[in-house]
């Protein structure tokens, strides 16, 4: 294992920012290459935890001589934000994952992105560990944007249950995944967990999925169990259960729960009077893939996303 600084940046008063990489494999390993990017945001603790767990795992595998490709793990991009409970770059509040491909002569975070991206170019595969951009928690899923250069096949080797495969939004053209794909790395994101927290269950699942990927794609010489057959998620088959009222959310189910039509998912109570404002009922049979994860909920927020095999349209729940 080689531990090295990918980016260092002096601060006016703080100790310098260091983005550290952990590289596995050497001249004798001839397999493909992968770079795994962890916490780009200061609240991506799950992502940090999975990435550092991989470093520890790969270190022992390297001692056993089982690394047959080149594997780079970068657990934390935005250590400055992680160290002070910020989400974005602490001075100007810009989101590092909105700065790609970066610009070497530009603003601070564009420069950081540019130096990082220089290091990431040329890998065969790119795995980005992402948190959600809202207050939800979800089952781990693959997020794959259609840039014209994406590779759907390889993401199936993760053996995760769901793949969101969709066109990109305008803002996603400034994200790492999109730009990495344009540079012909087979890049994809794994979105999982709850921001600001560690969820052991989903973290273990993502850890296992990445090891499966490394094995199937000939970077790690170990046998693995088969994963799940991935389902391509059709947005039409995701039913949104929304909160018609704001208040305190009490959820009765967990992500991954197979729910029957008409069963209770949770309730919203008035934060001051304690009165029950709304009973959240599942409008269809399916699997709860995602749920709102903050105890206080806003009106019209999506509380649950339910993936179902039957086509059901978007339905707002009744009171």
């Amino acid at each position: 294992m080689k531990r090295f600084d990918i980016v260092t940046l002096e601060s006016p008063n703080r100790a310098p920012l260091r983005i550290e990489g952990f590289l596995f494999g050497d001249e004798t390993t001839t397999g493909p290459s992968v770079a795994i990017v962890g916490a780009m945001s200061g609240d991506h603790i799950n992502q940090l935890y999975v990435a550092s767990g991989l470093v520890e795992y790969l270190r022992t595998k390297e001692e056993e001589g089982l690394i047959i490709g080149k594997i780079l793990v970068i657990p934390a991009i935005n250590a400055y934000a992680l160290n002070m409970g910020e989400k974005n770059w602490p001075l100007d509040k810009t989101d590092l994952n909105m700065m790609f491909p970066g610009y070497a002569q530009g603003e601070t975070t564009q420069r950081i992105a540019s130096r990082l991206f220089e290091e990431l170019k040329g890998y065969d595969y790119g795995i980005i560990l992402e948190g959600r951009r809202d207050q939800s928690m979800c089952l781990p899923y693959v997020k794959l944007m259609q840039s014209g250069y994406e590779d759907l096949e390889c993401t199936k080797d993760l053996g995760l249950g769901f793949i969101h495969y969709r066109p990109h939004d305008p803002i996603e053209t400034a994200m790492l995944q999109y730009n990495w794909q344009l540079w012909e790395t087979k890049a994809f994101s794994i979105v999982f967990g709850k921001n600001g927290a560690i969820d052991q269950g989903t973290s273990n699942e993502v850890h296992t999925a990445i090891i499966r990927f490394l094995s199937k794609r000939k970077m790690l010489d170990i046998p693995v169990f088969e994963g799940r057959k991935s389902n391509l998620v059709d947005p039409n088959r995701i039913t949104l259960v929304k909160a018609s009222r704001a208040g305190i959310l009490i959820s009765k189910v967990q992500c991954g729960t197979h729910i029957q039509k008409g069963k209770v998912l949770g309730k919203i109570i008035d934060a001051l009077s304690g009165e029950r404002l709304e009973k959240l009922i599942s409008p269809c049979e399916g699997i709860v893939t995602c749920q709102y994860a903050h105890p206080l909920i806003f009106q019209n927020s999506i509380v649950f996303r339910i993936a179902s095999v039957d086509l059901c349209c978007q339905i707002d729940t009744e009171k």
Partner: protein
């Protein structure tokens, strides 16, 4: 008196509702000619637009008989942010101006964006007033995407601003308010002026004259057009960026809006700890310093200023 209306309310968890309010002015008798929306506070730390909204409202209250169109004033789009010095949408920490056109079926920032578009849909014009951010001070300027140049530059020239900056299209900017509104046929100008968290009174009065002039030209106000300044056009020159070469404390030596020579000193980056001058910031071209850093702590790359000058 204008009519104060709530155009969007969303319940918050604990005994409060998020709201966006507007004040609407219409003609006393006749049918309105055209409709304009004057918008500020998409970013909660930008307050210059609040003063412009006040000045415009004050003027309209005193000139009811001149009103021929519908004039909507929206001083605080990100009202949670404005009242708490928060640039983004609080709780979600998301830049509202990267969330347009929004959706009813998405998180709170997207619902706000969707509500804003719905409220303003049908306006002939929208003026989206920003005040840079807390880091940079700007002269009054309008920024226009290249694809909108033909439609929007003539309109911007009426606004009594100093600079019209036509920039290349950037895909990310397709998620802004201005792009969303221009797409649905509302001619929307983005004004940047002043600095975040502060008021520059002179700029407020300057833009008020511009707004009155634009409305006079478009028949929304029955008044004589004002004599306004004609803005510098970006295509006649080039913009040079001054980025910090090292971290430290930026101390400017010249004032905002000065005309400077090539090679002259704009400021210094100094070390508060060692007492050393770490770098001398030199103007790479001659021209007008139309942007200057207002927040002194800098990292490598932090923008210190922009100069608009002759093409080299």
């Amino acid at each position: 008196m204008g009519m104060i209306e709530e155009v969007l309310t969303i319940e918050l968890p604990v005994g409060e509702s998020f709201r966006i309010q507007r004040c609407r002015y219409t003609p006393i008798k006749e049918k309105p000619t055209k409709r304009i929306s004057v918008v500020s506070g998409i970013h909660g730390d930008e307050l210059e637009g609040q003063y412009v909204c006040f000045l415009l409202g004050q003027w309209l209250r005193e000139h009811r008989e001149a009103i021929k169109g519908t004039i909507d004033i929206y001083p605080a789009i990100n009202s949670l942010g404005i009242d708490s010095i928060t640039r983004s949408v609080p709780f979600y920490n998301v830049d509202l101006n990267r969330t347009f056109p929004g959706s009813k079926n998405d998180f709170l920032p997207a619902q706000i964006a969707d509500g804003v578009v719905n409220a303003m849909q049908g306006s002939d014009f929208a003026i989206d007033i920003h005040s840079s951010n807390i880091f940079l001070r700007e002269i009054p300027q309008v920024r226009i995407a290249k694809s909108q140049e033909d439609v929007l530059v003539p309109l911007a020239n009426l606004l009594n601003i100093d600079f019209v900056w036509v920039h290349d299209a950037v895909t990310v900017l397709e998620s802004t308010f201005a792009h969303a509104m221009n797409t649905i046929g509302t001619k929307t100008l983005v004004v940047e002026m002043g600095v975040g968290m502060r008021l520059g009174m002179a700029y407020g009065h300057q833009l008020l004259d511009g707004l009155l002039n634009l409305m006079a030209h478009e028949g929304i106000l029955d008044i004589e057009p004002l004599k306004v300044r004609f803005p510098i056009q970006s295509h006649v020159g080039e913009v040079a960026y001054l980025n910090a070469a090292c971290p430290g404390l930026f101390v400017p030596v010249i004032e905002h809006c000065q005309v400077i020579e090539k090679g002259s000193v704009v400021g210094h980056i100094v070390s508060a700890l060692s007492g050393e001058v770490l770098d001398e910031v030199i103007a790479p071209i001659a021209g007008i310093l139309f942007t200057i850093r207002a927040y002194p702590i800098v990292y490598e790359g932090s923008l210190l200023g922009r100069i608009f000058g002759e093409k080299q």
